[in-house]
Amino acid sequence: MATVEILYFARLREALGVEREQLMLPAGVGTAGQLRAYLASRGGTWQTEFDPKRPVRIAVNQDLAHAGDPLADGDEVALFPPVTGG
């Protein structure tokens, strides 16, 4: 049973009204991309924000990740829009 800590930033944090949550990964959710799809399946704003056409970035343990990257128990997973610093 893998549990991850999920963080939301910027527009995503505001739109979802959530800053962070702990999630026990459901069966079949083992990668960053699968997590995103699972969050979209929550419906409503979640579905809108995590629509595959929306540019969402995922970081696992503070490194930018690809959809296929695996998730492990205790991982810190962050979801956010493309960055706009500098």
Partner: protein
Amino acid sequence: MPVRVQPGDFDISSEIHALRSGRSDVGAIASFIGVMRDFNDGSGVTELTLEHYPGMTEKSLQGIVDEARSRWPLQDALVVHRIGRMLPADQIVLVVTLSAHREAALAACAFIMDYLKTRAPFWKKERTPAGERWVDARASDDDAAGRWQPGEAA
């Protein structure tokens, strides 16, 4: 400390002075300051709030500086990025690179800015006469970072 994230302002002379201190082999100092404009994407901007991802921010900036140092013969490099509320004409980010030669210093400074724009977890929210809005990433920033990829380097 080559990477800092802070709410407060910075002074480029003081930062360069600290980096150079005690060295007489430096020949070239390139630097870049990003500044808040009072106009963006078609409308006036009166205030800017910079949000970031504590922990990952420092890690990603350090990774970008390390990557620059592996590509060019730098003697030192510094990134200072501010967070929180800012007003027009405020300084937002400072990059400084030191090298024996100008080509390395200038290229590394441009490289760090390009990567910072696409990899470092900062987000800008602007206050305009029509209300607040999150700034959208520019596709040209991805293009700029892309030009440093293998096979496309100048």
